[in-house]
Amino acid sequence: MSDAASLRRTALVENHRGLGARLIEFGGWEMPVQYAGIIEEHRAVRATVGLFDLSHMGELWVTGPGAGAALAGAVVTDPTRLTVGRAQYSMICAPDGGILDDLIVYRTGEERFLVVPNASNAQLVAAELGARIVGADATLEDATLTTSLVAIQGPRAREILAPLTDVDLGSLRYYAIAAGTAVGVAAHVARTGYTGEDGFELFVAWHDGPAVWEALLDAGAPAGLVPCGLGARDTLRLEAGMPLYGNELGRDGTPFEAGLGRVVKLDRGEFVGRAALETNAAAPRKQLVGLVMRDRGIARHGYPVYLPGAEIACGEVTSGTRSPTLDVAIAMAYVPPGHAQVGTMLEVGVRASRVPAEVVALPFYRRQP
């Protein structure tokens, strides 16, 4: 997908260009990776507020009398247990328990569910969900290319958004969603995000994206709001210990191995991957851990992890960077289950060197309540 002509562009691409964004290919889309700089954008979200174009994410509507039950058989959570207006973090797995994608499932009505997959997996998830709900009294609509998604994230997100929406943000709980208007256009406003901060995600019609984006940029400017790219989104989610598909999550791992076994609801009926996941829950092959580097060097995706002094790698780094908030190098990595305890000292192969790294509890960063 490196051919620029084949890349999809969000409704906001000209807004990004006007702001001087650097655009890159991501998941088949041409997306802003940074505007002023990743560290500045990262710090704005932690301290005040940042604005993200997430229109590359998928939006799949599953609707009908049988929608909830059909989804319950297709993903590892039970969306029928959601009350209307709430959301759950979920995953869709292969029959062998491997993760096809991680999702957020929102229930916007008794018979209406919005499933949000990653951009790079949206078509696969649409095809899988479509196949898995065959025979149910439910229909699947892929609204990815008719939906713009703008996220406002950070401690001041609520005060900036509140005057621009008729949704009562004070009563909108974390992982909740409400239909209303924002900046005068129809919107689903959700209190979800991928930054470790309070914030909101606004699902609007494709062509309404630019107006919503510009209004939030203007309204937030006095508070220090800056546009943020995928670079800051990645460092923010990593500090918050949130997994990224293609790094921490993939076909070769399960929710239990990723430390997300609590997401899988086994106290219910059949769903795709159930038998394999029950087995895996009792005997995970690997375990995702957080690492803090204890000497100079930054662990990166794909770097080997060793037991101290060992010649053969025992694991692999999935994501790593220098944490802008904590000012240390942090990483996530898969290691053998017996070496995943907090406090365990490991080594990361950083080019020709071995750099000591300590297993720490996730997340690396947790916002003050």
């Binding site: 990776v33 990743i38 560290i39 500045e40 670079g231 990645d234 220098r322 080019r351």
Partner: protein, 126 residues
């Protein structure tokens, strides 16, 4: 993007400034901008001998790590220790305080074979 006259350049985006029988080396403003926020610079030991185009260190931005290539063969006489505590100098002043190594070239004329400012400007499309 700033390309200073009087310096020599490589296709890997290092610059070289001749200084008597020594040469000061860093990365260009273009390279620093492409990398984004620099958070770590790993430099070699003083006294080490380097071949032309040999990797002399690594520069890491928030997102990625990149090798640094020595433009000409020689012996390292100094490194910029300030980059340990302040790697962001590479972004703020790539041609000045963000310098990386000082080298005594084996062949004082070797730098003449590198790109001049006009050729480097053409390379980066500026």
């Amino acid at each position: 993007m700033e390309v200073l006259d009087g310096l020599r350049y490589t296709e890997d985006h290092e610059w070289l400034r001749a200084d008597g029988d020594q040469a000061v080396i860093g990365i260009t403003a273009y390279a620093a901008d492409e990398l984004g926020d620099v958070v770590f610079v790993e430099l070699p030991a003083v006294g080490r001998r380097l071949a032309a185009r040999e990797v002399f260190g690594v520069i890491e931005s928030v997102k990625t790590a990149s090798d640094l290539y020595c433009p000409v063969a020689g012996e390292i006489v100094a490194i910029n220790d300030a980059l340990t505590a302040a790697p962001e100098l590479v972004n703020g002043d790539p041609h000045g305080d963000g310098w990386m190594i000082r080298l005594r070239p084996d062949d004082p004329a070797a730098a003449d074979a590198l790109l001049d400012a006009a050729a480097y400007r053409a390379l980066i499309g500026g």
